[in-house]
Amino acid sequence: MNDAHKIVEQVYAAKEDVRAADDLIRAYLPFIKAETAKFLKRPPIEGQDDELSIAMMAFHEAIGGYSRTRGSFLKYAAMLIRSRLVDYSRREQRHSRVLSLDAPIGEEDATLGETLADDREPHEETALRDATRAEIEELTRQMQEFGVSLSDVADNCPKQQRTLDACRRALEYAKGNPELLEDLLKTKRLPIGQLATGSGVERKTLERHRKYMVALLLIYTNGYEIIRGHLKQVMKGVAVR
């Protein structure tokens, strides 16, 4: 009884704090593994079975979706893990005839992936990845000054296409008025009023997606060329529209 109460409190704390959620997932990894094993009918191997990752994501989802009215947290999490694994296995059935690159071939230790010719330059790719990571780390640090984390942004991201388009329109306006971006960096405050009047987007929409707008506008300040390059094509599409 006391345990049940404790875990509910932990879950409610994890809803607010990303780090607490990570800790909770780590603490309950044996439970997640056990649930995955029930589904797979064998113990999952960490770092190899996608199912375990899916189960961990489902556990994270359970933290977000749990409320006291839903009964026991662990039962709820177990149910969610099972259904996400079923979803995943159905999805994977489409690729059932695809061979895994990690599958060992013959007697040797080598895997299928290692035998295939790779036309990509591994060094170049690693360098690009490092550069990208550096950019992302810088962005994360800068966002922290606004009190925003990437997980927050993911939770705050517009779900509807219409809302997403509205946010993009506001971004377009900010790109056309670089002083707005400078203001943002200087004051650490999102100029919602100016964005709303300038772009014609509802003030309410921008307020609701403040964190997302902060991340988006920061990406379009100095630096972040790689991330911008990733988004580039889409934003062109908006400009045409």
């Binding site: 996608d50 989802e61 993911a154 517009p158 988004l231």
Partner: protein, 347 residues
């Protein structure tokens, strides 16, 4: 669609898609800065809200179903379910089933002639009076009913009030309808106990204190006037009433002039003792005793009809019987027997 891995957590990874969306996905051994192509995205389920919507919609549906059921039953009870019946007897016998509104929901011929009468006739959905009028018209057309005939409505209703209401309505409306065309007698009986209904004017004319002679004499003018058909002796049997006399050996003890207030007319409705209603009707011929409404002996009702020396002793009531008549006992003994039979014969 390619995704840029922005952040990695043990439970999930934050990805940035090409359209600028930040998404959570299963962390399939990702590293920050990696570009991935086929992530397992976390489902965005606003489950709470969806549940609320479902709950509300199911609640609304349930309430709607209850309303439908409620009104459906109400409609059925009011409009479709037979609630009362009227047995119309001319010679053809027809049963009309009525709903609570008094509208005909079913018509059955209960004898051969009744079936013939109903052939090609649809009275469903019409008011009982309309159907009665139309059936009488048809009966006249088919020759079942002619001048001086008799129509009997036996009403089978669950409560007395409804019986009274239907009886009065049928009597007045049908009389109005046939007025000036044909003269027939209309008879209303209660199907359940065979009790006749008396029209309001009749019951008022047969007030208990009234001398017996006034009643039969009033039938003479009324026999040619269907607006006062209530003087017709309503009886328990729908067949001819000629045997149902209150006189002589055939006397069945049912007095036909019983006001509705006395439910069991049999022997309480005598002219003797406290039950004396002033309506001697039948007693004199059956007994050789002096008329009931005398002031002699045990039959005395305390109203001396003649001692005050006023021969017109009953000016409140019908004048006809008092004209030139000293107004006491002789009327009863002589006139009553004749007059009482008269309405039966005439009608």
């Amino acid at each position: 669609m390619s995704y840029l891995v922005m952040e990695c957590h043990p439970g999930y990874a934050v990805l940035l898609d090409e359209e600028g969306r930040f998404l959570k996905a299963a962390n399939l051994r990702y590293e920050t800065g990696q570009t991935v192509y086929d992530p397992v995205l976390m489902k965005e389920t606003p489950e709470r809200q969806r549940h609320t919507v479902r709950w509300i919609s199911s609640g609304v549906a349930a309430i709607a179903a209850c309303f439908l059921l409620f009104f459906g039953i109400g409609y059925y009870q009011n409009y479709l379910q037979p609630y009362s019946s009227i047995y119309l007897t001319i010679n053809p016998e027809v049963q009309m089933e009525l709903n609570r509104q008094g509208t005909v929901v079913g018509l059955t011929g209960t004898n051969e002639d009744g079936k013939t009468l109903l052939e090609g006739y649809d009275g469903k959905g019409k008011d009982k009076v309309t159907v009665a009028d139309e059936l009488i018209d048809r009966a006249i057309e088919m020759g079942f009913l002619s001048e001086g005939g008799r129509v009997s409505f036996s009403i089978d209703s669950p409560d007395e009030v409804l019986f009274q209401e239907y009886g009065t309505e049928l009597r007045t409306k049908v009389t109005e309808y046939l007025d000036g065309r044909i003269t027939i007698t209309i008879e209303i009986t209660n199907h359940q106990d065979g009790q006749g209904q008396e029209s309001p004017e009749n019951s008022s004319s047969s007030t208990p204190s009234q001398p017996s002679s006034s009643q039969p004499e009033s039938t003479l003018p009324s026999s040619s006037e269907p607006s006062r058909p209530a003087v017709t002796p309503p009886t328990s049997s729908n067949a001819t009433d000629y045997d149902d006399t209150d006189y002589g050996p055939n006397n069945d003890g049912v007095t036909d002039y019983t006001p509705p207030v006395s439910s069991s007319p049999a022997y309480t409705d005598t002219d003797y003792g406290p039950g004396n209603d002033g309506d001697t009707g039948y007693t004199p011929p059956s007994t050789s005793k002096p008329p009931a409404d005398t002031d002699y002996g045990p039959g005395s009702d305390g109203v001396t009809d003649y001692t005050d020396g006023d021969t017109d002793y009953d000016p409140d009531h019908n004048d006809d019987d008092n004209d030139g008549d000293s107004g006491y006992d002789d009327d009863d003994s002589d006139d009553d027997s004749d007059d009482d039979n008269d309405p039966d014969d005439d009608d």
